[in-house]
C-alpha cells in the first residue's frame, strides 16, 4: 500500500493541509514543533481510528475549530485505482468512508479486511521506527517478541499470547487440580461424596418402610383377634353379674311357687270394711236415740212454765193504743193557736205605732169615700204647684232677655257714622270714575300717534341717506379739485357738500308733540284732586256697611218694648195661683183630724194610713176566732182522760198523763212474746218424737246385715270372722308378689328352667365364677395394650418415614452439586481446550516461521554492516551475533549504532517475512541520529533501494542527498 497524498482537515494544530507523497521514498523535513509527530499520528488515526481513552495517546482534537480528521489517498496493489480513506468526527474512533476509484463507497469493515485485520499497536511495533525503540533491542527484540509479532500476523486483536496463557492457567488452577484440595471442583467433589453417603444411608432407611408395613398389618390382625375374644368374655361376665344380681329374686320366686300350691281362700268382697261399717252405723244410731230422748225431756219442762195472756185485756189495750196519734195531734193544735194569737197582738201594736195611734180607735171611718176625696185633693194641689213654678221660670227668662237687648242697643249707638263723611265719600267715588274714563281715552290717542310717527320716520331716513350721499360725493369731488389745484371747482363742490350736510341737520330737528301732553296734563289734574280729598277726610270705609248699622239699631229698640209688656202679664197670673194652693192645704188638714192621725204626717201618706187602719181591724177579728177554737179542743181532751182511767183500773195499772201510752205498749208486747214461745216449743217436741221412731227402725236393719256376713264365712263371732279375713289377704299378697317376680325375671331373660336351675345354686358359687372371668379379661386387656403400644410405635415410625423429606432433599442437593461440577468442568475443559490450541499454534510458528525470519535478518545485517557481522543467532540466553572473526556478541556488547543496525535488520526481516500478510508503508521518525555519515548513507541506500514498501522518513536534519522531489519541507511552524 502506498500513501499518495494526505489531506488534513484538522488534526492537532494542523489545519487544512494537503501533502503529496506519491513517491516510494519520501523525506519529510521539519524543524522542531513543525508537526511531524502530529502527522504520524494522523496517518495512524486515519487508518486505524482516532485514539480512544484506553490508549496513552492524546486525541488531538483541534482547539480552534470543529473539523476533526482528514483524508488519505492510497494505492492498494490489488486495486485498480487510488482509494480515498476519509475519517471524520463521529463515534469515538471516528466515522470512516472509503471512496473507491470507480465511485463506490465502502465502510470501515472493508478497510479492516483490506488491512488484513492489523491493529494500530501491531502496526506501530512492526512498521514504525523511532530512536527510543532502537536503543533497547535486547529487550524489544527477544525471541518471544519476535514470535509474538509473527503470531499476530493475519489475526486481529491486540492481546498477547502469553498474557492469555497465564490468565488461563491461573483460572484453570482455581477450578480444578487432579489431586488438589482447594480448587472449586475438588471441593465440590468432596462435598458431593458426603451427600452421596448420606443418600445411601437414607435409602437403606427407607427400605425399612416395607418391613414396617408388614409388621403393621400383622400386629393389626392379632390385635383384632384379641379384641374379639375380649368382647366375648365381657358378655359372659355381664351374664354372670346379672345372675348374681337376680339370684335373691330367683330364690324368693321359688319359695312363693311352693307356697301357692294350695286351694284358693274365699272371703266376701270387701268383707271387713262392710262389717265394720255396719257395726259403726248401729253404734251411731243408739247414741242418736239417747240424745234425742234427753232433749225431749227438757223441752217438756220448759213448756210447763209458760202461761197464756187474757184476750179481752189485750183488745182493750189495743184500742187505747190506736187513739194515741189523735190525742197528740190535738195537744199540738192548742199550742199552735196560742202562738198565733200572740203574733197577731204584736202586729197590731206595731201598726198602731206606724200611724201614731196611742190606742185602738174602732170608730174611725176608713171607707173608700174618704180615700177618694183625699186623692182628689192631692192631685189638685200638685197641679197648682206645677203651674206656679212654670210662671216663675218664664219671668226670669224675660228679665235676662231685656238686659241683653239693652246692651246691644248701647253698642250699636257707639258704632254709628256721621252724615258729612258719607257725603264726601260719595263725591270721591264720582271723581275716580271720571279719571278712569279719561285714561282710557288717552291710551287710544297715544296708539294712533305712535303708528303715524313710525311711518314718518321711515320716509325721513330715506331722505337723509340720499342727502348724505350727495354731500359726500360733492365733498370728495371738491377735495379732488382742491388737490388738483382747481380751487374754483373745489370750492364749489365743497360748499355744496357742506350745505347739504347743514340742510340735513336742520330738517332733523325735533317735532312738537302738543296733543299728547294736553291729555296727560288733564289726567294729572284729576289725580291731584282725588289725592287732596283723600288726604283731608277719613274716607276709609264701605258706604253699604254704614247703611246696614243704622237699620239694626232700629229693630233692637222695638224688641225691647214688647218684652217689657209680656213681663207684667206673667206677674199677675202668678199671684192667682198662690191663693189656690193655700185653700187646698187647709182641706187636707181637716181630713187628718178626722182620721185621728198625727197632723204632722205628710199629705201624700194619708192614703197609706187609711190602709193601715183597715189592717188593724182585720187582725183583731182573727184573734177572736182563734180563742174560740182553743176552748173546743181542751174540752175533748178532758173527755178522753176520764174514759181511759175507767178502762185500765181493772188491769192493775196506774194512769199517768205523760206515760200512759208507753205503759200500754210494753204490756201488749210482753203478751205477744209469751204466746209465740209457747207455740214453738210445742212444735219441737212433736219433731223429736218422730225422729226417735225412725232411728229405732234402722238399727234393726243393720243387725240383720251383720248376721248375713257372719253366715257367709260360717263364723261364730267377730274373732273368727277377722281370722278368715287375714287368711284371705295373705294369699292374695303372695300371688301379687309371685306375678311381679315372674315378669321381672322374664324381662331379664331368665326362663323357667334356668330359674329352677339357678335356684339350686348358692350365691357364693356364682360370685366365684364371675371373679374368674374378670381376671381373664384383665389379662387380655394388658395384652391388647401391649400390642397397641407396639403398633403405635410402628405407626409413628411409618409416619416419620412418610413425612421425612430428607432423602428427596438430599437427592436435590446431589443433583445440584452434580450440576455445579458439570458446569465447572465444562468451564475448565473449554479453557483447557483454548490453552491447548494456543500452545499448539505457538509451537507451529516457532518451528515454521522463525528460522526464515532470522535468516533474512542475518542477510540484511551482513549487508548493512558490509560483512562485518555474519550471523544472527537465538539461543536460550536470547539473541547473539557472530562477528566475521567468529566471535559471538550479546547486543549489549555491541556499539550503539551496530545495535541499532541489528534492530533495524530484524525489523526489516520481520516486515519481509510478513509481506504475505501486510504491505504497509514504513514510518521512520528520525531513527538514525546516532549513525555517522557513512552508516546513514548505507541504511538510506538500503531503504531506498532494497525495501519494496513505501517509506515515510520524518527528520529534522535535512538529508541533501535525497532528491528534492522526494522531499517535503514543513517550512513554517504551524499555528
Amino acid at each position: 500500500m502506498k500513501i499518495i497524498s494526505l489531506n488534513i482537515y484538522g488534526y492537532g494544530k494542523i489545519t487544512e493541509t494537503e501533502l503529496n507523497t506519491n513517491q516510494k521514498f519520501v523525506q519529510i523535513f521539519g524543524e522542531n514543533e513543525a508537526g511531524k509527530s502530529t502527522m504520524q499520528s494522523f496517518i495512524h488515526s486515519i487508518l486505524f481510528g482516532f485514539p480512544t481513552r484506553k490508549e496513552q495517546e492524546p486525541r488531538r482534537e483541534p482547539r480552534m475549530h470543529n473539523l476533526y480528521g482528514g483524508k488519505l489517498t492510497v494505492q492498494f496493489p490489488d486495486e485498480p485505482g487510488p482509494v480515498e480513506i476519509e475519517r471524520i468526527k463521529g463515534k469515538v474512533q471516528g466515522d470512516v468512508k472509503i471512496y473507491l476509484n470507480d465511485g463506490t463507497v465502502r465502510s470501515e469493515d472493508w478497510l479492516i479486511k483490506k488491512l488484513n485485520f492489523i491493529d494500530k499497536k501491531t502496526y506501530r511495533s512492526i512498521f514504525s521506527f523511532d530512536v527510543l525503540g532502537l536503543q533497547d533491542i535486547h529487550k524489544n527484540m527477544t525471541e518471544d517478541k519476535l514470535q509474538e509479532y509473527l503470531l499476530r500476523a493475519g489475526a486481529l486483536g491486540s492481546h498477547e499470547y502469553d498474557e492469555m496463557l497465564s490468565a488461563i492457567d491461573a483460572e484453570l488452577k482455581s477450578i480444578y487440580k487432579k489431586n488438589g484440595i482447594n480448587p472449586k471442583v475438588n471441593q465440590e467433589l468432596e462435598e458431593i461424596a458426603g451427600v452421596n453417603e448420606k443418600i445411601k444411608k437414607l435409602e437403606q432407611h427407607e427400605e425399612r418402610y416395607k418391613t414396617l408395613i408388614n409388621e403393621q398389618s400383622k400386629t393389626e390382625e392379632s390385635l383384632n383377634a384379641k379384641k374379639n375374644a375380649l368382647h366375648q368374655l365381657e358378655t359372659i361376665r355381664k351374664q354372670k353379674m346379672k345372675e348374681v344380681m337376680y339370684h335373691s329374686d330367683i330364690k324368693a320366686w321359688k319359695s312363693l311357687e311352693d307356697k301357692l300350691n294350695i286351694e284358693p281362700v274365699v272371703f266376701p268382697e270387701q268383707g271387713v270394711e262392710r262389717y265394720e261399717g255396719l257395726k259403726n252405723q248401729s253404734q251411731q244410731i243408739q247414741r242418736d236415740i239417747g240424745l234425742r230422748a234427753e232433749k225431749l225431756k227438757s223441752l217438756k219442762n220448759e213448756i210447763s212454765l209458760i202461761d197464756l195472756p187474757d184476750k179481752d185485756h189485750l183488745a182493750c189495750l189495743e184500742r187505747i193504743q190506736k187513739r194515741e196519734p189523735d190525742i197528740k195531734q190535738k195537744k199540738l193544735e192548742v199550742t199552735r193557736l196560742n202562738t198565733a194569737v200572740e203574733n197577731l197582738e204584736d202586729d197590731i201594736h206595731n201598726l198602731q205605732k206606724d200611724i201614731g195611734w196611742q190606742q185602738e180607735y174602732d170608730d174611725v171611718d176608713d171607707s173608700n169615700i174618704v180615700k177618694e176625696s183625699v186623692q182628689k185633693l192631692l192631685s189638685k194641689l200638685d197641679e197648682a204647684v206645677l203651674e206656679e213654678q212654670y210662671l216663675i221660670r218664664e219671668i226670669d227668662h224675660l228679665k235676662s232677655d231685656i238686659r241683653q237687648l239693652d246692651q246691644d242697643i248701647e253698642h250699636l249707638e257707639d258704632s254709628q257714622i256721621g252724615e258729612e263723611r258719607l257725603r264726601i265719600k260719595k263725591e270721591l267715588i264720582d271723581r275716580e270714575y271720571e279719571l278712569k274714563e279719561k285714561e282710557k281715552m288717552f291710551k287710544l290717542i297715544e296708539k294712533d300717534y305712535e303708528r303715524e310717527k313710525r311711518e314718518r320716520n321711515k320716509v325721513k331716513r330715506g331722505q337723509s341717506i340720499l342727502i348724505i350721499g350727495i354731500s359726500v360725493i360733492a365733498l370728495l369731488i371738491g377735495i379732488y379739485y382742491l388737490f388738483s389745484s382747481n380751487w374754483l371747482m373745489g370750492g364749489v363742490f365743497a360748499a355744496i357738500g357742506i350745505v347739504t350736510l347743514l340742510l340735513l341737520m336742520l330738517t332733523n330737528q325735533k317735532e312738537d308733540e302738543s296733543l299728547k301732553t294736553d291729555y296727560q296734563k288733564e289726567v294729572h289734574e284729576l289725580e291731584d284732586i282725588i289725592d287732596t280729598i283723600k288726604r283731608n277726610n277719613d274716607v276709609d270705609f264701605d258706604i253699604n256697611d254704614a247703611r246696614n248699622l243704622k237699620m239694626d239699631l232700629k229693630t233692637q229698640n222695638t224688641k225691647r218694648i214688647s218684652s217689657n209688656v209680656k213681663l207684667e202679664e206673667m206677674k199677675e197670673a202668678l199671684s192667682v195661683k198662690e191663693a189656690l194652693n193655700d185653700s187646698l192645704n187647709t182641706d187636707l188638714l181637716n181630713v187628718k183630724k178626722n182620721l185621728r192621725v198625727n197632723p204632722d204626717i205628710e199629705n201624700k201618706y194619708i192614703v197609706d194610713a187609711i190602709h193601715t187602719i183597715r189592717e188593724i181591724k182585720q187582725k183583731r177579728n182573727q184573734i177572736n176566732r182563734h180563742k174560740l177554737e182553743i176552748d173546743n179542743i181542751k174540752k175533748e181532751l178532758r173527755e178522753f182522760k176520764t174514759e181511759v182511767k175507767n178502762d185500765i183500773s181493772s188491769m192493775d195499772m196506774q194512769y199517768d198523763d205523760s206515760s200512759i201510752f208507753y205503759d200500754v205498749k210494753s204490756t201488749v208486747s210482753k203478751m205477744y212474746k209469751d204466746q209465740s214461745h209457747y207455740t214453738r216449743l210445742d212444735d219441737q217436741i212433736k219433731l223429736l218424737e218422730n225422729e226417735i221412731n225412725v232411728l229405732e227402725e234402722r238399727n234393726s236393719v243393720s243387725a240383720q246385715k251383720v248376721q248375713k256376713l257372719f253366715e257367709y264365712v260360717d263364723a261364730e263371732d267377730e274373732e273368727e270372722y277377722y281370722y278368715y279375713a287375714r287368711k284371705h289377704e295373705e294369699y292374695h299378697d303372695n300371688i301379687a308378689k309371685f306375678k311381679e317376680l315372674t315378669t321381672k325375671l322374664d324381662e331379664e331373660h331368665f326362663d323357667y328352667d334356668s330359674r329352677n336351675e339357678l335356684a339350686r345354686f348358692l350365691l357364693a358359687d356364682l360370685k366365684e365364677e364371675e371373679e374368674n372371668i374378670s381376671t381373664q379379661i384383665e389379662e387380655f386387656n394388658s395384652k391388647i395394650q401391649h400390642e397397641q403400644k407396639a403398633l403405635a410405635e410402628i405407626n409413628s415410625e411409618i409416619a416419620g418415614l412418610e413425612s421425612d423429606g430428607k432423602l428427596s432433599e438430599l437427592n436435590h442437593m446431589f443433583e445440584m452439586r452434580k450440576n455445579q461440577i458439570q458446569g465447572l468442568s465444562r468451564e475448565y475443559m473449554s479453557l483447557n481446550y483454548i490453552r491447548i490450541l494456543i500452545e499448539t499454534h505457538i509451537k507451529a510458528i516457532k518451528d515454521e516461521r522463525l528460522p526464515i525470519v532470522i535468516e533474512e535478518a542475518r542477510s540484511i545485517f551482513e549487508s548493512v554492516t558490509r560483512g562485518r557481522y555474519i550471523n544472527v543467532i537465538y539461543d536460550e540466553d536470547g539473541i547473539k551475533v557472530r562477528h566475521s572473526n567468529g566471535q559471538l556478541f550479546h547486543p549489549l556488547e555491541l556499539s550503539q549504532s551496530t545495535k541499532e543496525m541489528l534492530y533495524i535488520s530484524l525489523r526489516l526481516s520481520l516486515i519481509k517475512a510478513l509481506k504475505g500478510y501486510y504491505q504497509l508503508p514504513l514510518i521512520i521518525d528520525d531513527a538514525f541520529v546516532h549513525f555517522d555519515r557513512e552508516r546513514k548513507k548505507i541504511i538510506m541506500d538500503y531503504l531506498r533501494n532494497e525495501v519494496t514498501d513505501q517509506v515515510l522518513y520524518f527528520t529534522c536534519n535535512l538529508d541533501s542527498s535525497i532528491p528534492s522531489q522526494q522531499t517535503i519541507k514543513l517550512k513554517e511552524k504551524v499555528k
Binding site: L156, A167, N811
Partner: protein, 394 residues
C-alpha cells in the same frame, strides 16, 4: 358430556438443573414446585368436577424416587377419591413397574400393567368410556406394543389411548422409546390419544386430538414457558381441549439492552428489568445483556453485580432468579486472533480429546460428568473464548 384431565411427566420431586448456588428459600420453592403444580391440577379437577384424570407416564423421577413423592401422590389420589374422581395411570421409562411401590394406591386409581389393557368406566352423565394403555415394565420396553392396542370396532362409547412414547417425526432430545407415527394411531379409531414422555407440549393431530400435554413443571432452562395439563371436554363426536397452566416456577430466556456498563447503572437496569418480570410469579431466567457502546466492565465488577442480584432475591416470595447472566459486546469483536487458531486447528480431534480427557480420566470426577459424546467441540470452543474474553478484561 365427559370431562377429564390429561397430564403426563409429573416427574415428582425431580431434581432441578441449575448451575448457580441458590439460597434456601428458592431451593425450597424449587423442591416444592412439582408438588405444588400437581396440587393445583388436583384442585382444578375437584373444582371442575371432572370424571377422571389420565396420567400418561413418568409420575415419578428416576433421580429422586422417594417415599415422600409416593405418599404425596397417595394423598392426592385420596382427595380425588373423596370427590368421586377416578385416575388412570400408566408408568413410563422414569418410573417403570419394576421399581415397585412401597405404598398401595386408593381404589379409585387404576394402574395399567405391562401388557396392553382396556378398562371401561361410566361417566357421571352415563357415557361409556374405554381406556387403552400399558405401562413400562423395565425402564425401557423391548418391543413396540402398539399392535396390542385394540381397534375400535364397536362404534360405541368414547375411546382413549394412553401412550408413553416418541413421535417418529419429532426431533426430541429424550430417549426415543416406543416410536410411533400418526398413521398407526389413527388406525385404532380412538377419540383421543393422551401421550406422554415428551416434555414439550405439542398437538400432533386435531381430529382426533393426539397430543403431548408436556410436563407439568419445567425443570431446567430448556423446559421454558408455561407448563400444565390438558382439560378435555366433550362427547363421542367432538372433544374440546384446553391447556391449563399450573407451573409454580417458570423458566424463561430474556435479552436486555444496557446502555451503560457502569457497575451501579448495570445493576440498576437489571433490577428494574426484574421488577417488570416479577408480576408473572416465580421465575428462573437466562438473561443475555447486549451492550452497544465502547464501555467495558471488569470481571470482578461483573461478578459483584451478579452477587448483588442474587442477594436481592434471597427472601422474596415471587423471586426472579437469574440462573445465567451473559454479557455481549456489540462493538468489540476482541480476541479475533483466535479466529486464526480456530481456523487452523478446530478440526483437530486429538487436541479436543486431550483437553477433555484431563477431566474424564479422573475416576472421582467422571461419574458426575455428562457422557463424553454429549460434548460439542464447537460449543466448548465458543464458551472458552467467551470465558477468555472475560478473563482478559480484568
Amino acid at each position: 358430556m365427559v370431562k377429564f384431565i390429561h397430564c403426563a411427566d409429573l416427574h415428582l420431586d425431580s431434581p432441578f438443573k441449575s448451575r448457580t448456588r441458590m439460597p434456601g428459600g428458592i431451593l425450597n420453592a424449587l423442591m416444592d414446585s412439582t408438588y405444588k403444580s400437581v396440587e393445583r391440577m388436583i384442585d382444578f379437577a375437584i373444582e371442575n368436577k371432572v370424571d377422571f384424570i389420565v396420567i400418561a407416564g413418568d409420575v415419578f423421577d428416576r433421580a429422586n424416587r422417594t417415599l415422600k413423592s409416593e405418599i404425596f401422590m397417595k394423598r392426592q389420589f385420596g382427595r380425588l377419591k373423596e370427590n368421586g374422581i377416578f385416575a388412570y395411570v400408566i408408568h413410563g421409562n422414569h418410573d417403570p413397574l419394576t421399581d415397585g411401590f412401597k405404598t398401595v394406591w386408593p381404589d379409585n386409581v387404576t394402574v395399567f400393567k405391562e401388557n396392553v389393557e382396556t378398562y371401561e368406566m361410566i361417566s357421571s352423565k352415563g357415557e361409556r368410556i374405554f381406556l387403552h394403555g400399558f405401562s413400562y415394565f423395565l425402564d425401557d420396553s423391548y418391543e413396540n406394543k402398539l399392535d396390542g392396542y385394540p381397534v375400535n370396532t364397536m362404534n360405541e362409547g368414547i375411546h382413549i389411548g394412553l401412550l408413553h412414547g416418541t413421535y417418529s417425526k419429532g426431533s426430541y432430545r429424550q430417549e426415543r422409546y416406543t416410536e410411533f407415527n400418526l398413521e398407526t394411531l389413527n388406525q385404532k379409531l380412538y377419540h383421543y390419544w393422551a401421550l406422554g414422555h415428551i416434555h414439550q407440549r405439542e398437538q400432533l393431530s386435531d381430529l382426533p386430538p393426539i397430543q403431548y400435554s408436556g410436563n407439568i413443571q419445567g425443570r431446567h432452562k430448556n423446559e421454558y414457558g408455561e407448563k400444565g395439563f390438558i382439560y378435555v371436554k366433550g362427547d363421542d363426536v367432538y372433544l374440546d381441549t384446553k391447556f391449563i397452566p399450573v407451573q409454580d416456577i417458570m423458566f424463561s430466556e430474556y435479552t436486555l439492552d444496557v446502555s451503560s456498563l457502569n457497575k451501579q447503572d448495570l445493576y440498576q437496569s437489571i433490577v428494574e428489568f426484574k421488577h417488570r418480570l416479577r408480576e408473572k410469579g416465580k421465575q428462573i431466567i437466562q438473561l443475555t445483556l447486549y451492550h452497544d457502546g465502547d464501555e467495558i466492565i471488569s470481571e470482578p465488577d461483573f461478578n459483584e453485580v451478579i452477587e448483588l442480584l442474587k442477594e436481592d432475591e434471597r427472601d422474596l416470595k415471587d423471586f426472579v432468579w437469574i440462573d445465567n447472566l451473559h454479557l455481549k459486546y456489540m462493538n468489540q469483536d476482541s480476541i479475533a486472533l483466535l479466529n486464526d487458531i480456530k481456523a487452523s486447528y478446530s478440526s483437530n480431534d486429538t487436541l479436543f480429546k486431550e483437553a477433555v480427557n484431563s477431566m474424564y480420566m479422573d475416576p472421582r470426577l467422571n461419574r458426575y460428568l455428562l457422557p463424553i459424546q454429549e460434548l460439542e467441540q464447537e460449543d466448548l470452543l465458543d464458551e472458552g473464548e467467551e470465558r477468555l474474553k472475560m478473563l482478559m478484561r480484568k
